[in-house]
Symmetry: C2
Subunit: 217 residues, 2 copies
DNA sequence: TTCACCGTCAATGTATACAATGGAGTTCCA
DNA sequence: TGGAACTCCATTGTATACATTGACGGTGAA
């Protein structure tokens, strides 16, 4: 693997998994030594991370981008813009076969009253396949690009909340509705079901946060 | 000015103004010599341009990103996602004073049946101030960031079409409606007026294109 | 004691030397 | 004659030396 890629992967992974906390300064030499490459690929990696919004360049020092409740709300407003449009376009252009099969899978998941811990990863994988199917249907490089960047930030956000089994089952039901709307080429319903899902999702995260950290610093 | 900034500015400017045509390969050494800096800042500039989507990295060669009619349509689908959401949030949070003053200005521009060549730059400047006011009202870093990137691509797209005086006057009327909706905090109307504006805008560009280039390569 | 100036230094910014890589052309074999 | 492999070369990838800059602390004078 090329050094630049390595530096990027390591730093990105550390940031997404909160091993590098928001605000942590990222000095070139220090990171270069830690990762085991020279400053040049580190600079390249930092440039990419800044462009993605995972690193902030304040003055001369780069540091891990902040992430607070405010960020979360803003992220979901942005997400609403992208995902409702994606749902609309997917409904317009979807391949029926793909979404029929996704519908069947979401039906199975939604039939349960809760999604067990052991099935959690499988459910996330299903959602990821749904996202990929939407991307392919939408077939719009600008939108897909933006969605990819958005999902990166959502990975970081996920660590803030806790998806319990009941929430996952409800999420499955919400995805089922969106999938059905896309399959039926009902653009309006696809948009609105997506908005509903995002609302529930944000409410759940915020509730979790209030539970976990009653007193934010 | 720092060399990296210089390289970025020069390349970006050349791409946006079509002095570097889509598909033009951007070899590091060649560009470094042309701009008068070393390869390092050129690499940094290219990285930023790739992140912005103005340069594509196909295999080992970077080249100016393609831009076709397809891209234009996709760009406007993306634009619809961002700008309708921006309009909604701006309507929710706007400072009345700011939009009252913008409304008055758009009223003046829309009152004319056509916006003269000499007033064109002034009108674009007005739209830019409108965009800035929306950004400030929306107050969402992710959305604002995405909008900034979008506008960059729109600058490049503008060179494809020709805004005639009648179109500009209609654009003023459309902006007036959006501004009024935001001022009235009518989120639904703000969204829909924005969608209407984008539709008209795209129709105009496409018509211009068919006129200019009846036979696309 | 306080403030302004200056020197030191640690960090980033830039250039360049060197390594690795991938592609084009050529040669040789089947 | 077709194609496979090899060689050469141009270009990118990486490391590092050197330049620049901005911050901090110390020293001096008011």
């Amino acid at each position: 693997m090329k050094a630049g890629e390595r530096a990027y992967t390591v730093l990105r992974d550390d940031i997404l998994n909160w091993r590098l906390a928001p605000g942590t300064p990222l000095a070139e030499i220090e990171q270069a030594e830690r990762i085991g490459v020279s400053r040049t690929p580190v600079r390249e990696a930092l440039a990419r991370l800044i462009a993605e919004g995972l690193v902030e360049s304040r003055g001369r020092v780069d540091s891990v981008a902040a992430f607070s409740t405010d960020h979360l709300v803003e992220l979901f407003e942005f997400r609403e813009a992208l995902e409702t449009q994606a749902a609309r376009l997917a409904a317009r252009r979807r391949d029926p076969e793909v979404f029929r099969s996704l519908r069947d899978e979401f039906q199975l998941a939604a039939a349960k009253s809760s999604v067990d811990e052991s099935e959690r990863d499988a459910f996330y994988a299903l959602v990821a396949r749904f996202d990929a199917a939407v991307d392919r249907s939408v077939d719009n490089r600008y939108l897909t690009n933006a969605l990819t960047g958005l999902r990166t930030h959502l990975v970081r956000a996920r660590r803030l909340s806790r998806d319990n089994p009941e929430r996952l089952a409800r999420a499955a039901a919400e995805h089922l509705l969106i999938t059905e709307a896309i399959l039926a080429q009902d653009e309006t319903l696809a948009v609105q079901a997506t908005a509903v899902h995002l609302h529930s999702s944000l409410v759940n995260v915020m509730a979790t946060l209030r539970q976990t950290e009653p007193q934010p610093a």
